[in-house]
């Protein structure tokens, strides 16, 4: 099965690229393929200018030091048998860098960076709340001083009031450590908040990518437009809301995507051509937005 098909992404140093989409769009697979956790069958992944696809196990180990992953579910991403201090130190120990990186002092510093006291280091993960566990997961990802963090839905399983804490923490860390983020999420509001640029995925392909303000203010791909319009907004309570694009049907099975443009069966602008020819990804005339659509343009 082809979960991700011809995806191109760029993340610059110190920048956040948001990757959004609904279930089955391949956003998590994309993140894992970059980490080499799932095998990719073609294309190129360059990190700091170096091609990392097809690297030997040993060389990949070196790359993994500089790029780390933060998981969605803080309950399942920490080994229940390890104390949280050991969990944070585990990447260092695997790479044999524990002492070189500063040992206990560095671990204490990591706890401090994510807003926890290092006096809790001996405790087991089950003694922590979801938000605290996610902080521990972030500290663990930072232990090897990576340049890029791949954040896979890092706040999706947290309560609303805790989400904001983690989002703020991530923004602070990015500023202090000039980290690059690939922020994978389904929640368009969170992505809007944290990203510099945003890419939208649908059934394994990127359909639109632009700077944050362009994408949210003037989406050109019909799917992006529908997606943005579907998000329930708080202001509806006081201001009412404008017309909404309600898409017909549901997301098709990713293992048997529709022909041509994968979105055409649900699209309000689809023509004959869309069902036959897959649109190329490129700059939309008169905008700074890139999209893969035969009929890009402002919403209906």
């Amino acid at each position: 099965m082809r979960a991700v098909d011809g995806v191109s992404l760029r993340v610059a140093r110190g920048e956040t690229l948001g990757l959004v989409g609904e279930s089955g769009c391949g956003k998590t697979t994309t993140g894992r393929a970059i980490m080499g956790l799932v095998a990719s069958t073609g294309g190129s992944i360059r990190f700091d200018g170096q091609e990392i696809r097809g690297l030997s196990r040993n060389d990949m180990r070196g790359v993994r030091r500089r790029m780390q992953y933060v998981f969605q579910d803080p309950y399942s991403s920490l080994n229940p048998m390890l104390s949280v201090g050991d969990a944070i130190a585990e990447p260092l120990r695997i790479h044999g860098l524990y002492d070189e990186m500063g040992g206990d002092r560095w671990i204490a510093q990591l706890f401090d960076m994510v807003g926890l006291s290092s006096s809790v280091a001996h405790r087991r993960p089950r003694e922590f709340s979801g938000g605290q566990k996610q902080r521990i997961g972030i500290a663990r990802a930072l232990s090897l001083k990576p340049g890029l963090l791949i954040l896979d839905e890092p706040v999706a399983s947290l309560d609303v009031s805790i989400q904001a804490q983690i989002v703020n923490l991530l923004q602070d860390l990015q500023r202090e450590l000039s980290l690059a983020y690939l922020f994978i999420a389904h929640d368009l509001s969170v992505v809007k908040h944290i990203s510099d640029r945003v890419a939208v995925m649908y059934l394994g392909r990127i359909v639109e990518e632009a700077g944050k303000s362009d994408l949210y203010a003037a989406p050109t791909h019909p799917y992006t437009q529908a997606l943005l319009s579907a998000v329930p907004v708080v202001d509806a309570a006081t201001q009412g809301r404008g017309p909404r694009i309600v898409l017909q049907g549901e997301i098709p099975n990713p293992s048997a995507p529709p022909s041509g443009c994968h979105f055409h069966p649900r699209c309000f602008r689809a023509t004959e051509r869309c069902s036959v020819e897959a649109p190329a990804f490129g700059l939309v005339a008169g905008t700074r937005t890139e999209a893969a659509c035969h009929h890009p343009g402002p919403g209906p």
Binding site: V160, S161, D187, V231, P232, V246, E250
Partner: protein
Amino acid sequence: MQQTADRTVAGQSADPVLSIRSLSVTFVGSGKPIPAVRGVDLDVFENEVLGIVGESGSGKSVTALAAAGLLPGSARIEGSIVLAGRNVVTADADDLRRMRGQDIGVVFQDPSTTLNPLLPVGRQIVEGEVAHGRLAPVAGHARAVELLREVDIADPENRARQFPFQFSGGMRQRAVIAMAMAGRPKVIIADEPTTALDVTVQAQVLALLALRQKETGAAVVLITHDLGVVAEVAHRVAVMYGGRIVETGAVRDIFAHPRHPYTAALLRSAPRIDVTGDRLDPIPGQPPTPTDMPAGCAFHPRCAVSAGRERCRTEAPPLRPVGAQIAACHFAEETTVASAGIPASARTPL
């Protein structure tokens, strides 16, 4: 779903169809008793959507399941829940069963597990009606087709004969809505009905739920953690925290002028797609767990207003009218529009 800005709070003058008084629910098991709901008063009127919002552990789902009489045997329930003139708490199993379907219907969170995988969907939809003798078994299929058509399922004739695994997530949830409405109940409890769905499908299902509510005039109790969903669908809202209602009133009033510091903080902390801002304003600390509830006002350890105030730490605030709504805060008057509202200039058009 299009809504006019002018939404009236419906039916307030009539008698409520569902009336909850001093409801407490404690789960007793092998460990410490868990007080999940600690004194809730709530009225639901016909032809309205009441949203109950709260974070995990706030007691919102337990309150709603108590109203449907669906709590497990380990729950100790105190207070009264009067549904269509009968008390659910004291009703015996037979009475309770007769109320289901015609007085109350339920839509659950995860449509992938709420349907029996081994039975055809159509049969499951009308099963309750047949069991109550309100529908002849031979008329079952025709009625199921009709109900599926009402929830916009294409080809209902064949779909009724299919099994849940042949339905997509959104279709299953439509089928569950059809099932909950099969007996034309006066109250429908919808417990996080769209949480498990994708956002484009959520929009479809919410629109359908609102439409069917309007067509039937039923009361809908919508439980959710998503303020946006409440804002778009509900007429009135009850905000729960630590097993209690901390604020309730018309959606418009509460979202424009929250009076409880928790409501205000919640509105400020959520990242919003319709607002451009640099920094979120989180609520410090964690939501309390039922076994470890702070004394006095449950929100005081996280509250800016309570800082240095003895009263918040010792005395639980009662619900009282503040402005257009009802709030449970000793200092509700201090929670102002400025501290909660979003400046209009920050709004971006969609």
